[in-house]
Amino acid sequence: MSRLLKIDSLQTHFFSAAGVVKAVDGISFDVNQGETMAIVGESGCGKSVSALSILRLVADPPGRIIGGSIRFQDRDLLKLSDEEIREVRGKDIAMVFQEPMTSLNPVLTIGRQLTETMEQHLDMTRGQAVARAIELLGMVGISDPERRLRQYPHHFSGGMRQRVMIAMALCCEPKLIIADEPTTALDVTVQAQILELMKDLTQRLGVALIIITHNLGIVARYADRVNVMYAGRIIESGTAHDIYHHPHHPYTLALLRSVPRMDQPRRARLDPVQGQPPDLSRLGVGCSFQPRCGFAIARCASQSPPLERIDGGDHLAACFEAHSVAESMARSS
């Protein structure tokens, strides 16, 4: 598999009157062709901002990408002109957002929203674009596509709108789709339909997928590789199997232990992550998880642990006590 996207030490900060919010603070990861990579984390951990940074969609001001590089194929996206990055958006890299209600234009027909992108990026005539739009709507499971093309977003249910968003993402045959919480606003039975559709289409068309979510179950089912984020940094990275069965970071372990699980017998009590999520404008020098961590040692308060390889493999964790965490997991399972 060849490398499609390589992000290196990306830093996106927000400058507000109250101080600097380090939303993304030095993250690095790769995405290979055709692979599904997940970014997991809780609200405010920087997962959406990292996705928006890839397409340079962070509003400036207050946000600014202040460091790092984003290499897509052989170009650094951060060095492109505004016009060049517009060419990349929607064509090479497409995005599916969380809110299908607000991310479609309410005053344009579904057909127009689909054909506009294709006419823009692929130099198609109106007729060619309409034919392709009909084909795409059929592909994402919308019945009677000729009639549906002439309708407006409010005629569509939430699940159907998300299908339209996926059709729009696919229309220029992108190499990479970034899906930011694509099913969070949907009901659980519809969520399953949309995720299966995305998995199926990306596999069939060889498109790489970055899926951003807080749902550990979705990640377990769909992701080849997983990056866990906390307070603007990647704190653990590895295959889905590594992350779920051999976590080496206390936050990953705590997250897995805190959720009630249908695949395990009922527990008398849950094991929550203690404390509150950090304030990103007031991070100290040490590890940002240290105030909530049961494994913390003296060093954690003064030094921030780097993301390092575990046993020389592709599994990385940012914790001084990574091996104690792994032992604790091994003991409990």
Binding site: T189, A192, R221, R261, D263, A268, L270
Partner: protein, 365 residues
């Protein structure tokens, strides 16, 4: 009603895994099972009979007329026992929140009755209902919009006490606020702060303290943890459980997260398009779901284990929930049902007790 032996495949494999790994019996879990058996014999606190809530759809400004009706809740029957936590699950628009609002009399039901401690809430006048609301409190989903941003936390928590006159003097109210904050895991100093100074989890603790301030018997938790982060959800779930045990509270736990409901509830009712399609003890419902909709719901929840999750067969139910304005004839689930036969489109299935304590509305199974 005794808890049934679980028979579902997920449960069996899970139990096999447990037998292999855990030797020590879980004392706390046994304690919990005992409390479940006790609850099953407790007297009924809330009884809902044939509850209907139809909202008229009105068109025209001058000569307005009713053109349709949204049948948000369409004839449901439920009982909630003292000390019990009843889970009410279903997808958006199934009527679970409307059911809660009817019990609180925030809506005036179209038909049916709601008995609370023997009194029919549907017939009560405003004044008697206000008195009764002291016993029935609610915790809302969104901790951001359910607290008044201009009020201090202490004022928010003491307001119900003022309204109901439970603590007539200010010193007593302040002492109670401090006690409630401590009870909900917050520093009493928070009384002087405003909601915007707190995180989502802390605000939800304030919402819980407010509900508890007038010593209610029954609390409706309407998606009370859905808006919270994963790491905070477990904290709030544990808090709700502790409070239930400490004060003998009864909960109606309205939620869409099936794993949370399984953890917290004694019995679970599954709603679809204004009707209850299945009702059973928690272990029975998750171990042996009978209604095709319940089966589809459970199958659609991904579990956080990549090996198990990828090995699992995924039978995904087709289509989406139809509009409650124009629900399907016969069984409301039949257009999406994998087991549907011709008669399902004509006959409304009866809500039957197929196994002891396990009720299902399906005429095929």
């Amino acid at each position: 009603m005794t808890p049934m032996e679980p028979t579902g495949a997920v449960r069996q494999s899970a139990e096999a895994a447990v037998q292999a790994s855990i030797v020590v019996p879980d004392v706390a879990l046994e304690h919990r099972r005992q409390s479940e058996r006790r609850v099953a014999l407790a007297p009924e606190l809330v009884t809902i009979r044939n509850l209907k809530m139809h909202f008229p759809v009105i068109e025209g400004a001058l000569f307005s007329k009713e053109v349709a009706r949204v049948k948000a809740v369409d004839g449901i029957n439920l009982t909630i026992r003292k000390g019990e936590t009843l889970g009410l699950v279903g997808e958006s628009g199934c009527g679970k929140t409307t059911t809660g609002r009817c019990i609180l009399r925030l809506e005036h039901p179209t038909g049916g009755e709601i008995l609370f401690d023997g009194k029919n809430l549907v017939d009560l006048d405003q004044k008697s209902m206000r008195a009764l609301r002291q016993k029935i409190q609610v915790i809302f989903q969104d901790p951001y919009s359910s607290l008044n941003p201009r009020m201090k936390i202490g004022e928010i928590i003491s307001e119900p006490m003022k309204v109901h006159g439970t603590e007539p003097n200010k010193a007593a109210r302040d002492a109670r606020v401090a006690e409630l904050l401590r009870l909900c895991g917050l520093d009493p100093k928070f009384a002087d702060r405003y909601p915007h100074e707190m995180s989502g989890g802390q605000r939800q603790r304030v919402g819980i303290a407010r509900a508890l301030s007038v010593r209610p018997e029954f609390i409706i938790c309407d998606e009370a943890i859905s808006a919270l982060d994963v790491s905070i959800q477990a904290q709030i779930i544990n808090l709700l459980e502790d409070l239930r045990d400490q004060f003998g509270l009864t909960y109606l736990f309205i939620a869409h997260d099936l794993s949370v409901v399984r953890h917290l509830c004694h019995r679970v009712a599954v709603m679809y398009l204004g009707k209850i399609v299945e009702l059973a003890d928690c272990d029975e419902l998750y171990g042996n779901p009978l209604h095709p909709y319940t089966q589809a719901l459970l199958a659609a929840v991904p579990v956080p284990d990549p090996d198990l999750e990828r090995a699992r067969a995924h039978r995904i139910v087709k289509g989406e929930v139809p509009s409650p304005m124009n629900p399907p004839r016969g069984c409301v689930f039949h257009p999406r049902c994998p087991l549907a036969v011709d008669s399902c489109a004509k006959i409304v299935p009866e809500f039957r007790e197929l196994r002891p304590g396990h009720w299902v509305a399906c005429s095929v199974i």
